[in-house]
Amino acid sequence: MIKKLLIANRGEIALRIHRACREMGIQTVAVHSKADAEAMHVRLADERVCIGPAAASKSYLDIKSILAAAEITGADAIHPGYGFLAENATFAKMVEEHNITFVGPHPDHISLMGDKITGKKTVQALGIPVVPGSDGAIKDVKEALAFAKKNGYPVLIKATAGGGGKGMQVANNDTELKERLGIAKAEAKANFGNDDVFIEKYLTHPRHIEIQILADTHGNVLHLGERDCSIQRRHQKLWEEAPSPVITEKQRHDIGEKVVNAMKKLGYRGLGTIEFLYEDGQFYFIEMNTRVQVEHPVTEMVTGIDLVREQIRIAAGKVLTLQQKDIKIRGHAIECRINAESPETFMPCPGRIDFNHVPGGLGVRVDSAVYTGYTIPPHYDSLVSKLIVHADDRPKCLARLRRALSEYVISGIETTLPLHRKLAENADMQKGDYNIHWLEKVFLKGQ
């Protein structure tokens, strides 16, 4: 078993990993930048090593320094958390080459899923549904019309060399498709010097639904149900829940089984999340995250499984003790991401927390590394805290969330707490009637 684990991360996830280790009797090493000498996980860890200046590129992203710290402390495992080096295949490979256990998947699987096109092709071949699209560039209008006929309107025309929305056109019928194919090609040519375009089915009101999986090195794969992360702003999730308000038991079982079979065939190990867009009863693969997710606590609350603990056990080569039939989704959980940002403009707001009062009581969990008197450094992301509530059903969970949000005080900096208070009161949110565009296009516009 692992004796000493180096946490190659910071903030709440570093503390989360430390907590799992402490309960498992594993010693922890906190590596930190100059800006994080006062951080909570650094204070609590058994050992601490300063690995560089505040800039992440010279500390948390500096592979050489992290490995040197593992060497001088004699750590036998490294947990990368999320972000930073968590999905860096080179890092994972180097860790293993130093005979240190990497708490994560095989480096090859990290690179496979890191490349979005290869990742999509791979999972499609393994039986996971993807957004229907033309195989490569569209040759002519005839091919485009045939595709639309087969898959239905609307369709999205995209430049193969594209990015940033350039050369992208939506068509709702044959006439529009004929017309906009030409426009898209011209835009693609003008922007990228290449007029190749491809077509895919355009989802107008999808939800973001993701499936959590857990795979050991002995061929056992489990799925732990879904999380609904449709409340997003600029692709940043702000509110996540499990189970999704719209997914049925049968749908959960069906997509879960597809994902489990695919991961078995792939030989994947560790924690993984398969992200989908979901519209009108259909799932469409977006990408796979080969690491622990920020929103993992909602799954923990409804399944009762400590995901970080399982992740470490798997890395140590242990066998999963649970079987799929043991996985039960109990009640409902919601997580609010509380960021150091203006709740109106979303401008980051680093600074000193003058007072921090976290809510408590039954079914309330706060994953946060801040404390009264802590100064949020300006160098890293703005996540201050994750408030997670759990209750028997969704209405009770929302009531508990409103109660917990009303107790929560963070002063000295601006946070998104007021936004969450409004969301928790909102009528659409009560009904679970939202999609990935709802927050920006409906809720924030109405503010």
């Binding site: 050992e47 003058d354 007072f355 404390y371």
Partner: protein, 191 residues
């Protein structure tokens, strides 16, 4: 909860309280002269805390003496600033262990603030000579020229020479041969 309620909470919450002196008085009406007088009284009496109250105004002046603090966590609700731990460096070959830090006061002169301090540019293992058994690069009291190698820090099997940024005399060496060093840890002082 409404915003107004939040603000109320905020107001009641303890304000930023400095470590060296703590005052609780009406925001504007701090009697600077009184504080000064109390501070002077400190020096004379060697007290660590004085509290003084008159109608509508209370002044508390406190200072911390060097009590080697065990690593201790004050409940956040107290509104106190947590003890600030100095980067503790490594103790010998072994790794540092919780509870080895001292809170206040700092050593008479903080070596990190010394203008002639040479700090480690990386985390790794420091060596004082080019190979085991060889003469060390530097000696306390010995002269040193700008650009001379003063130590080697090994990180991931790569030997990184640490060079003197200026000429002078080696005043103090803080590192033993073969010991781990952190980023920014003071290796030696040149004067």
């Amino acid at each position: 909860m409404t915003n107004a309620e939040t603000k109320k909470h905020t107001k009641e919450a303890p304000k930023n309280i400095g470590k060296e002196s703590q005052t609780k008085a009406d925001k504007v009406n701090i009697d600077a002269a009184a504080v000064k007088e109390l501070a002077d009284l400190f020096k004379e009496t060697d007290l660590s805390e004085i509290e003084y109250e008159t109608a509508g105004c209370r002044i508390r002046v406190a200072r911390n003496f060097g009590i080697p603090a065990q690593q201790q966590f004050y409940p956040a609700m107290q509104g106190m600033q947590m003890p600030s731990f100095q980067s503790q460096g490594f103790q010998g070959q072994g790794a540092i262990v919780e509870g080895t830090t001292t809170d206040l006061p700092k050593a008479p002169i903080d070596p990190a603030k010394h203008p002639g301090a040479i700090k480690s540019p990386m985390v790794g293992t420091a060596y004082l000579s080019s190979q085991p058994g060889a003469d060390p690069f530097i000696k306390v009291g010995g002269p040193i020229k700008e650009g001379d190698t003063v130590m080697i820090v090994e990180a991931m099997k790569v030997m990184n020479p640490i060079r003197a940024p200026k000429s002078g005399i080696v005043k103090e060496i803080f590192i033993q041969d073969g010991t781990p060093v952190e980023f920014d840890e003071v290796l030696l002082i040149i004067e």
